[in-house]
């Protein structure tokens, strides 16, 4: 049992623990914090696999930026705890969710056992580049072969901004009164 294995199991256990605790929390903020724990552990796993860039993305983007967004959204929705979410689902629903969870887990294990795991030299081409996963390898690929997808990603993020503004920005000008749609009750907002 070498150090790699020890760290792998430590990170894996923390990742699964974080994910489990995340869905078991009543307070959504606590869920978000457990998600951070899980993401950091996953980042360690990626780094162990040689995916340094992927690991850093996980920390910077997911545990950093997206988590901030999550927290803002939780505060925006003003969810206090899962008590606000209404009555629990009927017994059948509760049973099916466990049944499906177990079924999917078994299926996953069977697939992983049945499939030949691609070893170091995988697929038709093996690893597409030397030094797969390092920042340098990622960047030479990203800025040469994947130039078209890169620019498309830019467009995708642009339209995300525009869409968010359209959806979330208050309309200043009074619009034509609507006679068919049901009006939303005006909610008091504290800024």
């Amino acid at each position: 049992m070498n150090l790699d294995t020890v760290i792998f199991f430590a990170a894996a256990v923390v990742a699964v623990f974080g994910a489990t605790m995340m869905i078991a929390q009543k307070n959504p903020i606590a869920s978000a914090l457990y998600l951070i724990l899980s993401l950091v552990a996953q980042a360690i796993l990626y780094v162990q696999l040689g995916g340094l860039f992927l690991g850093s993305i996980l920390i910077v983007v997911y545990a950093g930026a997206i988590m901030v967004l999550f927290l803002f959204v939780i505060m925006l929705l003003n969810l206090r705890s899962s008590d606000d979410l209404g009555p629990p689902p009927p017994a059948l629903g509760r049973f099916t969710k466990y049944a499906f969870g177990i079924l999917l887990s078994v299926e996953l294990i069977v697939i992983v056992k049945a499939a030949r795991m691609p070893s170091k030299a995988t697929g038709v081409l093996g690893f597409p580049v030397e030094d797969f996963g390092s920042v340098k390898a990622v960047s030479t690929q990203m800025f040469t072969t994947y130039v078209y997808p890169l620019e498309l990603t830019g467009i995708l993020m642009l339209i995300a901004v525009v869409g968010a503004v359209v959806i979330a920005k208050k309309e200043n000008n009074a619009q034509v009164s609507d006679d068919s749609g049901s009006d939303r009750p005006a909610k008091k907002q504290v800024s």
């Binding site: 691609p118 697929g123 038709v124 997808p149 525009v162 749609g181 049901s182």
Partner: protein, 483 residues
């Protein structure tokens, strides 16, 4: 220093229509920032679309690939790009007055529509799964926003949220599928996958099949096949009607472009796919038709009808091969025409105050708007597949392709479904022609823009039905340009 431009074969000639649409969307976004000029956005949008259509037609017959083989320009993609642009142009005309009446006429609407069209065009022309995925996302994100744009209507909000969640889940499936394929083959390029298919299938069959299945589920959500259809009725009913018209045609065509490209070209050697598509097609057309029978809302009925039409097009995927692809393209063009026409009439009727497109609101329509009712009847005949409309020809080509390949039962089920569908389409005609209205019916006010939209779709529905030869030749020439 390496000359990357030639090493990666950067060729902007391949993506001129895409660039045109993108630049137009930028211009429209700029216009939307200022209140004074934002009313120009629809005109600018139209000009952009027409230019893009012109550039697209200029590409016809040209074959090539570029951007490190991420983009393939072939007749197949060009035809689909033309379908998206034409559908978008019709939707611009069709929605103009509705948006003004409902206070939704904002520059952003057009900007989002343009970017969505851009995503579809990227999808149609992609020869790489990554580009396909990005195109799908660029198409979908504006659609989520467009569905929820009518913010004072709870139904619209619900539609936006529902569409967003289902869309996000389906993209997750798709992405996982692509990851499996990449794991098995070490590439996301469709051409390489086709070249090395037997090696992949022998070495990593589990990953290959899991990947294919997940990709199928992802696209299945997008085109609304049963059992991934549950979002369709709510979203179609809740979204603003011109947006629904757009939903029901353009993204569906884009989804089928991707399905045809990936499964008829890319994974054509996965033989079990034909059986899977057989089941999907039968389920989709049957469930769509049976549920459509029970609807009391015209928009909801059209939503289920669009599901069943997706089922007919899936028949082409069961059959596979050049003839079936041509039939699918023909059917998609036809479907674009008559479905947009049908939604056009519904949009027009919804500009009357308080109208929610219930069936009983159609009563007495022939008294107030006789010509409009006749047009509506034409579209309903086309949707149910009566000659001499293009709906009949489209179904004929699809099912004759199926018959020639020996799918007798599939054809029988399809034709029986067509008969079932006649019931609910004719119910629209019956209600609007023969049922007496309670009280005095309010006439729908025609505007020049919607007349243009209805004339285009009606001429398309009837003209292509009477003279289908040209369109058929066009769709037969629309082959994959990937050796």
């Amino acid at each position: 220093m390496i000359d990357y431009v030639s090493a990666l074969s950067i060729d902007f000639g391949l993506i001129v229509p895409e660039i045109t649409v993108l630049v137009t969307s930028f211009v429209v976004m700029m216009l939307a920032c200022s209140k004074k000029v934002s009313s120009w956005s629809s005109t600018v949008t139209l000009v952009g679309y027409v230019l893009a259509l012109w550039f697209t037609t200029r590409q016809w017959g040209h074959q090539g690939s570029g951007f490190a083989d991420m983009v393939t320009c072939d007749n197949f993609g060009i035809v689909f790009k033309a379908i998206f642009i034409v559908a978008s142009i019709i939707v611009v005309f069709l929605g103009h007055r509705y948006l003004r009446v409902k206070g939704l006429h904002r520059g952003e609407y057009y900007a989002l529509m343009l970017v969505s069209t851009l995503g579809m065009m990227v999808m149609a022309n992609s020869s790489d799964l990554i580009v396909l995925f990005l195109g799908l996302e660029i198409m979908s994100v504006p659609l989520y926003v467009m569905a929820g744009m009518y913010r004072r209507s709870l139904e619209s909000n619900e539609a936006g949220i529902k569409y967003f969640f289902m869309g996000a889940f389906s993209t997750a499936f798709l992405l996982l599928g692509i990851a499996f394929i990449f794991g098995a083959s070490g590439t996301t390029n469709l051409r390489s996958i086709v070249t090395d298919f037997s090696y992949i299938a022998n070495s990593f069959p589990v990953y290959l099949y899991a990947g294919v299945a997940l990709i199928l589920i992802g696209f299945g959500f997008k085109v609304g096949t049963v059992p991934f259809h549950t979002w369709v009725p709510d979203v179609y009913q809740g979204a603003p009607t011109p947006v629904t018209a757009f939903f029901s045609v353009a993204p569906k065509a884009a989804g089928f472009a991707a399905l045809l490209r990936v499964f008829v070209y890319g994974f054509s050697e996965v033989t079990i796919l034909s059986d899977v598509f057989w089941v999907l097609a039968v389920l989709t057309m049957t469930v769509g038709n049976l549920l459509a029978l029970r609807q009391d809302n015209v928009k909801r009925m059209l939503a289920y009808s669009s599901i069943s039409h997706a089922g007919y097009i899936l028949v082409a995927l069961v059959v596979g091969g050049a003839d079936a692809v041509a039939a699918a393209i023909f059917y998609l063009v036809a479907y674009t025409m008559f479905n947009l026409g049908g939604f056009g009439v519904v949009t027009l009727l919804e500009t009357r105050s308080g109208c929610k497109s219930e069936f009983n609101e159609l009563r007495g329509l022939s008294k107030t708007n006789p010509y409009l009712t006749a047009t509506l009847a034409l579209f309903m005949f086309a949707l149910s597949g009566f000659p001499p409309t293009v709906g009949f020809i489209g179904k004929f080509y699809i099912f004759s392709a199926a018959m020639q390949s020996g799918f007798v039962w599939l054809t029988v089920i399809g034709v029986m479904n067509s008969f079932v569908s006649v019931y609910y389409y004719l119910r629209v005609i019956k209600t609007s022609f023969f049922d007496e209205a309670e009280g005095t019916p309010v006439p729908a006010v025609l505007s020049p823009t919607i007349i243009i939209a209805l004339v285009i779709t009606a001429v398309g529905t009837l003209g292509l039905g009477l003279f289908p030869q040209q369109l058929l030749q066009l769709s037969q020439a629309a082959i994959f340009g990937m050796p």
